[in-house]
């Protein structure tokens, strides 16, 4: 009896095992495919140029920390990193502030022109002119005389925040209005309701807004490229790294390029290693529910 059962189930088990192995192989290949360019960047940033272009070893024969020194000092990446940091930090703060103020009031108050405003925000989420919208913005910044400072880039990258406004609006709606009402009866103004009640409760959603604002600002390339046309010392890191491709002796500077690329991706990798779960859950909160 026992034997019979065993015989019957054994081919079935085989199949399950094969499927399991195939699944594992598939995921492993996907993981290697995604991680390889990142590892290449970081390991490659410690190689000499000759090793990079001619050699075929995975590891560097000796770890060239000097590449980073050259990138930071000779290629002036220290300045560009600072630019990127200032821009990303300011954009994150501004994005959180503006989207939370607007999202809160849209969720809680009716006012003249609210419907029009919401439909404008919505339509701008779907109408996309792409990178060319930067030209009129640049012209405007120039007429305001902001194009010689990082402010132009910061304002441009913060932008309309339409998606984040809706995100915060949806979140605020899920907070019971009884809380506001109780506070108003106790004599709070709408500003105090916002500051004392809603703001502390919206921390989770503002965290999502901050994370994505930081990512977008740190990784941006095109806005940084255009907004700093007239003032190259204001270039963000991404632009400076990519421009190494166009330098006169680019062929001899692969190691500097990779060191620059590593400098540009390591900070965001660090942020990600602490907040990967928030990135992933934030993405679905923004895309599917928003």
């Amino acid at each position: 009896m026992k034997d019979k059962k065993k015989k019957k189930s054994s081919p079935f088990k085989w199949k399950v095992m094969v499927v399991q192995i195939l699944k594992t192989i598939f995921v492993t290949v996907a993981v290697i495919f995604t991680i390889y360019p990142v590892i290449y960047t970081i390991v490659g940033s410690f190689k000499t140029n000759a090793e990079l272009t001619l050699g075929a070893d995975f590891w560097p024969s000796s770890w060239q920390v000097e590449n980073y020194y050259r990138a930071f000092v000779e290629a002036d990446f220290l300045r560009y990193s600072l630019n990127s940091l200032i821009v990303a930090a300011s954009v994150t703060t501004l994005a959180m502030m503006t989207s939370s103020l607007s999202g809160f009031i849209l969720a809680r108050r009716n006012f003249w022109g609210k419907k029009l405003l919401i439909s404008l925000y919505l339509s701008m989420m779907f109408v996309s002119l792409g990178a060319i919208k930067l030209y009129p913005i640049y012209q405007m910044m120039r007429s305001l005389n902001l194009h010689k400072s990082l402010i132009a880039l910061i304002l441009t990258l913060t932008g309309g925040q339409a998606a984040n406004v809706f995100l915060v609006m949806g979140f605020t709606r899920s907070i019971p209005t009884q809380l506001d009402e109780a506070a108003i009866i106790d004599g709070c103004s709408i500003f105090q309701v916002y500051y004392r009640i809603i703001l502390p409760l919206s921390k989770p959603i503002l965290g999502v807004v901050a994370l994505f604002a930081f990512r977008n600002a740190w990784n941006d390339y095109i806005a940084g490229l255009i907004m700093t046309i007239g003032a190259p010392q204001l270039k963000p890191l991404t632009v400076a790294v990519v421009q190494l491709k166009y330098s006169v002796n680019a062929a001899a500077e692969w190691h500097i390029m990779l060191a620059g690329a590593a400098i540009a991706i390591i900070p965001i990798l660090l942020v990600y290693s602490f907040a990967s779960r928030h990135f992933i859950s934030g993405l679905t909160a923004g895309a599917l529910k928003g």
Partner: protein, 309 residues
């Protein structure tokens, strides 16, 4: 009575005023960075602005739009955008779904794999475009070296040459987008009730059948959103193309977003073009319309499909 109405009105005005104080910071940025550029483009569609030997801004009516419709290179770039977009979507969607299906359960090892595959999403596509430019370099690139050393190829492949540039571009775009769509699918699959899956399994459906007859149909609405996001985002991808291939060689990867961009700014520092803002505005408005049209068509077709099933 009149006094009361007056007070009400005052209260109303005060309420409106308060609301606008909250809105102002965001509204200023929205007006100047989102709305203004669109209005700007809609205006200059009808103007000659910039270009060869034309210093003044001149109203030209529909001339720019007519030129767009005659511009063969532009329509080729639209077709290339479709190749790029559909290539990206057709590779990403099945892979992302399979990965999501395999990694859907909340286990430590699954979470680790998920966050690794999601990694490219958080990195600058421009910087990684540069890294791919080095990786796929024909003579010194790592990819060719690996393939040659393992004996898979005997001659270096010119990945960024005319014949392969688009494929290479799509490959890097898949790299950048896979994790994103995997996460969307995981969120979708987690919404499919486990009871339906379990009961199908009890009734003797195998894994493939469960996926095909239970999970995919129940994913329907989310799949629709995911596909729409994928299609529209393909029209906006520009920095990866700009850094990896600059639209070349010989326009082989000149997608619409980059083609329009060239009428405003030079793509590389070595290139010198005379900007034509009026014509560029017309191009970008038409491109936005094409993208909108594709979305509408897609929604119509997918609704029809819903009716059939």
């Amino acid at each position: 009575m009149k006094f009361y109405a007056n007070r009400l009105k005052k209260k109303e005005i005060k309420k409106n005023f308060e609301a606008y104080i909250f809105l102002i910071p965001n509204l200023i940025l929205f007006m100047s960075c989102s709305l203004y550029p669109v209005l700007w483009a809609l205006k200059y569609v009808f103007y000659q602005y910039g270009g060869y030997g034309a210093a003044e801004i001149r109203f030209v009516g529909l001339e720019n739009l007519a030129r767009v419709f005659r511009d063969k290179v532009y329509w080729q770039s639209i077709m290339r955008t479709f190749t790029y977009g559909f290539g990206k979507v057709l590779i990403i969607i099945p892979l992302a779904f399979l990965l999501a299906y395999i990694l859907k359960e909340r286990k430590k090892i699954n979470t680790l794999a998920q966050s690794t595959i999601f990694l490219p999403t958080i990195m600058s596509s421009a910087v990684m475009g540069l890294v791919f430019y080095l990786l796929f370099n024909a003579y010194n690139g790592e990819i060719n070296k690996i393939l040659m050393n393992s004996g898979l190829i005997h001659q270096p492949i010119n990945w960024l040459g005319k014949n392969h540039a688009m494929k290479t571009l799509i490959m890097t775009a898949v790299w950048g987008g896979l994790g994103n769509y995997m996460v969307y699918f995981i969120a979708g699959i987690q919404q499919v009730s486990t009871e339906a899956i379990d009961s199908a399994r009890i009734d003797g459906a195998n894994e493939t059948k469960t996926i095909w007859y239970i999970i995919l149909p129940m994913l329907g609405p989310i799949l629709k959103i995911i596909l729409m996001l994928a299609i529209t985002s393909a029209f906006n991808d520009i920095s990866n193309v700009m850094v990896l291939t600059e639209g070349g060689p010989n326009n082989a990867t000149m997608v619409a977003s980059l083609y329009n961009y060239r009428y405003f700014f030079p793509v590389s520092t070595t290139e010198s073009t005379v900007p034509q803002y009026g014509y560029g505005a017309a191009l970008s408005v038409v491109t936005a319309c094409v993208a909108g049209l594709v979305t509408v068509l897609y929604l119509k077709v997918s609704r029809k499909l819903d009716d059939i099933y």
